[in-house]
């Protein structure tokens, strides 16, 4: 299959003995195929930037219109849990990066281990999110007829309800991305375990890494914007 692939040249103009089994016939080389795939993935991620971007724009406009209500509503969130979850998610980005690293080195077992570690950390993040959401339901912080925050002055409640609408929309869309990502990670881990990838062909792992890191970036902005508006109070 790929005997001696370590010494394989980056750009194959030459007559290679047998084409790599994962090389599609409409590409000249694995490198060209990978470059094309990477650009395609980034094109998708640009649409994701605009997808989340619309919500960030809404957030900005409503926060400028209701600064005090947003600050008061933000104080209802559990900052320590948010901070821990930020560490957990950055940790999962790190294990993902190490999975991609191991794939580039052709270390099959390490790839499986790092991908599963990413699944574990991603699941931990979602678990904390479940606890947080439960708290919001229990304390009547979910927008709608039962919205009745105890600690927020009546004149700020309308704005606080807008804040929580955005809180659930943004963290919900973010969590949805992770919920969709975890099964893909499991499939990639299974394929890696079965030897589907090698050091010359591991594009799916690398591209999934891009997706996972993108989700991490979204949270890097969500954490300060949702949890840390004015935690001291006044």
């Amino acid at each position: 299959m790929t005997s001696g692939s370590a010494a394989a040249p980056a750009h194959g103009h030459g007559h290679e003995t047998a084409p790599h089994p994962r090389l599609m016939h409409h590409f000249d080389s694995l490198e060209q195929q990978k470059e094309s795939s990477t650009l395609g993935m980034w094109t998708f991620l640009v649409t994701e930037i605009m997808f989340f971007g619309g919500l960030f724009l809404l957030y900005t406009v409503y926060r400028l219109q209701n600064p005090q209500a947003f600050a008061a509503a933000s104080r209802e969130l559990d900052v320590p849990l948010g901070l821990i979850n930020t560490f957990v998610l950055i940790g999962s980005s790190f294990t993902m990066a190490l999975g991609v690293h191991a794939a580039a080195l052709g270390k099959r077992r390490a790839v499986v281990v790092w991908l599963l570690a990413t699944v574990l950390l991603g699941s931990a993040f979602l678990g904390v999110k479940v606890v947080e959401y439960q708290h919001k339901f229990a304390h009547h912080l979910v927008p709608g007829p039962s919205f009745a925050p105890e600690h927020i002055e009546p004149e700020l409640r309308r704005g606080a309800e807008v804040y929580f609408s955005l809180y659930f929309a943004m963290t919900g869309l973010h969590a949805t991305h992770m919920i969709l990502g975890i099964p893909v990670l499991l499939v990639l881990a299974l394929l890696a375990h079965r030897g589907y990838f090698d050091r010359r062909y591991n594009t799916p792992i690398e591209l999934f890494g891009l997706y996972w890191h993108f989700v991490d970036i979204v949270w890097i902005f969500l954490f300060p914007l949702l949890y840390l508006i004015d935690p001291r109070g006044h």
């Binding site: 605009m50 971007g53 901070l83």
Partner: protein
């Protein structure tokens, strides 16, 4: 394309930097810098720095073909254009009646 393999040390360094910056974001939110706008600017500055680290190193854009970098920059530029463009309206709307 990138036959370049990013060394483990680079990943570790970026990870540690991201963790420290996360803690700085948290600590800075409790500090009083004199104006609330400054707090927002610091929080967003740190977030942009973290995002840039992730894009360049974890997402390999530093080691990818130029065309990938063009796609990334254009994506974020369009987002900035959308937000700035809309805010020129919303942010300044209240100024008129005063």
């Amino acid at each position: 394309m990138s036959d370049h393999i990013v060394p483990f040390k680079t990943y570790l360094g970026v990870f540690v930097a991201l963790m420290i910056l996360t803690f700085v974001t948290y600590a800075a939110a409790y500090e009083n810098f004199g104006s609330h706008t400054l707090n927002v600017a610091i929080a967003l500055g740190i977030a942009v720095t973290k995002a840039t680290l992730v894009v360049l190193f974890f997402m390999h854009v530093k080691y990818s073909p130029r065309m990938v970098a063009v796609f990334v920059v254009v994506g974020f530029a369009w987002l900035a254009l959308m937000i700035v463009g809309i805010l020129t309206d919303y942010w300044t709307r209240g100024w008129i009646g005063q």
